[in-house]
């Protein structure tokens, strides 16, 4: 399946991927409104890890054998059969955080807006190109089959 990959050698640590991810997952999907008017603010599902000169954008790896799916007791975390993406059904999520515990990439976060919802990359469901990839100014995030 097509996955998002980070190229740390050209990641400039600007965090524009986080900005655009947040906007994509906001109500209005308008950048200024998402930041200035929507509260609680939407969350970015990508996180730029940074240490010294090294940085890269990290988001869900959509593992073939996803530990979070196995660990999820309610079935909120599931694998989309068609696309292979690991998705999250907020209605079923009870916030036990097992997914966060088992995720080897540390790519799942607690959604701060509600008490018991996990938050993760959904590959910008329905969009041809995830917004983090489309908006990376230095092509340090790519969406491709490997």
């Amino acid at each position: 399946m097509k996955r998002i990959y980070a190229k740390e050698d050209v990641c400039i640590g600007c965090r524009l991927c986080e900005v655009h991810c947040l906007v994509q997952h906001s109500k209005s999907r308008k950048i200024i409104k998402a930041f200035k008017e929507e509260f609680p603010r939407a969350m970015a599902r990508v996180l730029v890890e940074e240490l010294g000169k090294t940085s890269f954008a990290l988001q869900c790896r959509h593992c073939d054998e996803a530990l979070c799916v196995e660990a999820c007791m309610t079935g909120a975390m599931y694998k989309d059969e068609k696309t292979g993406a690991v998705l999250h059904d907020a209605d079923k999520c009870i916030g036990c955080w097992m997914c966060i515990m088992v995720c080897p990439a540390g790519a799942i976060q607690r959604d701060q807006r509600k008490e018991k919802i996990a938050s993760k990359c959904d590959l910008c469901a329905g969009q041809e190109m995830p917004v983090c990839v489309a908006n990376c100014p230095n092509e340090a995030i790519v969406f491709e089959e490997r």
Partner: protein, 506 residues
């Protein structure tokens, strides 16, 4: 420390209605202009350190940042302008030579803008380059006196032994910029683009990093006064060797790469210890005459078994025509001339802005002199220094150049905003820096693509220009000054340029 009298050059304005406090600007400014105050949840900008490079404005996702010239006006004075006063304040505060980067920003006349090109109408047909073949390929190197052919009918063989030539798919090469003055990624972008388009990039005096050996057939290796990185292996890697005598931005001045920029990789490539300044002497200490130059030219030819053309690059100075003649007679295969608007990574601004002559006049003078002496064919002529677009290139070729070198326009293609802060090593665009955090900002994939695009675009435009003139090869334009006319130039200028005023047929 007393208060500096220097006010900020720019005013950074932030539209608070648009700013989402994402802090991209904070992370991107290497001059620490922007900062985030967590207590007040506010992004603030301090204009003092702004270089006007637009990195923040370019990356701001909401276009909330605007950079403009500081509105603080000095009392109007044609003599004591703001720039003049600021320069004096700076020197009064530091007591030093003022450094700068890029080409001169002084308003010397740009003769290109006073030269117009010809086109065919009625009496001779123009050519549509989209329908008919158009030749931009050119060869640099010494051409024979005459061609001797043997045989008859279809079975003809060339008997004359040709001297080594460089094959250029377009008459534009990348000028010398050393690894050290520009980043690894910038060099990589140039090298890849040169290979892709079929032209050449130039190592400058930085040596050739082993990673770039694969681009050897598209590389001109430079041998300058500091001899940094020059080894037999290095000479053999390149397609041609360039002896650098001078540079348009700083004629008569040596080079200086500050020790801070000399990291492990640059130290290896230049063959100097880590952290030491790389000082290139002003002259080559083994070249004090044309005869001495001849010795170096032939030493380099001998070292490479006469397989590579040897270039000699000089800055355009008052006596450029006679010097070029000497260079050709010394055995150079290509003479490169760099005009007063040529760029640099670091030069004293007083030199950059006051020494040398415009490239347009230099090309015309050199081409004319070499023709008069009957030695024009013995060397190719490459012009450099401030070529901004394809029309400048076409005009240079019509004046007599075989090809041109571009560097500033190549840097601009890679993102440079000509902020002239190259000498600080803090280039926000990842070009003129060795800071690994900043170097990453230039993705060589993007850099090479943008450079290739630029060359491709210029090539298409030059073909259109040629087609309009009714010629189908760049060789037909070369030195054909009848394709040029002058607008608004003095008689002496036109005499030197060898062009007629517009409106005059012949």
């Amino acid at each position: 420390m007393s208060k500096s009298l220097l006010n900020p050059e720019f005013l950074v304005e932030r539209d608070e209605d648009r700013c989402i406090k994402c802090q991209v600007c904070v992370r991107q400014c290497a001059f620490d202009c922007h900062s985030y105050d967590g207590d007040d949840d506010e992004v603030q900008s301090d204009s003092t350190s702004c270089a006007g490079c637009h990195r923040c404005a370019s990356l701001c996702p909401t276009d909330a940042i605007n950079v403009r010239r500081t509105p603080l006006e000095f009392r109007q004075n044609a003599n004591w302008t703001a720039d003049v006063q600021k320069a004096i304040y700076k020197q009064a505060e530091t007591g030093g030579v003022m450094l700068t980067g890029m080409g001169s920003d002084r308003p010397y006349p740009i003769y290109w803008d006073h030269l117009v090109l010809n086109a065919s109408q009625v009496t001779n047909p123009s050519i549509d380059p989209l329908r008919e073949p158009m030749e931009l390929r050119t060869y640099l190197g010494r051409k024979p006196e005459a061609l001797k052919l043997n045989g008859n009918g279809r079975d003809v063989k060339l008997e004359t032994q040709l001297k080594p030539q460089l094959k250029l798919e377009i008459p534009i090469m990348f000028s010398a910029m050393s690894y050290g003055s520009i980043s690894y990624n910038a060099c990589m972008s140039l090298a890849r683009a040169a290979r892709q388009i079929g032209t050449f990039w130039n190592t400058g005096e930085g040596g050739l990093h082993k990673d770039f050996y694969e681009f050897g057939p598209y590389t001109i290796v430079q041998c300058a006064s500091g001899r940094f990185g020059v080894t037999s292996e290095y000479l053999h890697q390149g397609a041609a060797i360039e002896i650098k005598i001078g540079q348009g931005a700083k004629p008569g001045i040596g080079g200086h790469l500050p020790g801070e920029k000399v990291d492990e990789a640059i130290s290896q490539t230049r063959m100097i210890p880590v952290g030491t300044d790389a000082l290139s002497p002003a002259p080559h200490h083994d070249i004090y005459s044309i005869e001495d130059l001849r010795q170096l030219i032939y030493a380099l030819k001998e070292a490479t078994n006469y397989t590579k053309p040897v270039f000699v690059k000089i800055a355009a100075v008052h006596n450029v025509a006679a010097i070029a003649s000497g260079i050709v007679r010394a055995g150079a295969d290509v003479v490169c001339i760099d005009g007063i608007r040529g760029g640099t990574g670091a030069a004293p601004s007083i030199i950059r802005d006051n020494v040398g002559i415009p490239i347009e006049l230099a090309i015309a003078a050199v081409d004319q002199r070499l023709r008069e002496e009957g030695i024009r064919h013995e060397a190719s002529l490459v012009a450099a220094g401030g070529f901004r677009n394809s029309a400048d290139v076409a005009k240079a070729i019509a004046l007599g150049a075989d090809a041109v070198y571009i560097a500033t326009s190549a840097l601009v293609a890679m993102g440079c905003h000509v902020c002239q802060k190259c000498y600080t090593g803090r280039c926000n665009w990842g070009i003129a820096t060795q800071d690994p955090y900043l170097v990453k900002r230039l993705n060589p994939d993007i850099g090479a693509r943008r450079l290739s695009n630029l060359l491709r675009a210029w090539a298409l435009e030059i073909k259109e220009i040629l087609g309009g003139m009714g010629v189908n090869a760049i060789e037909s334009l070369r030195g054909n000054r009848l394709h040029l006319r002058a607008v608004g130039l003095a008689d002496t200028d036109m005499e030197i340029l060898g062009v007629l005023p517009a409106g005059r047929a012949q």
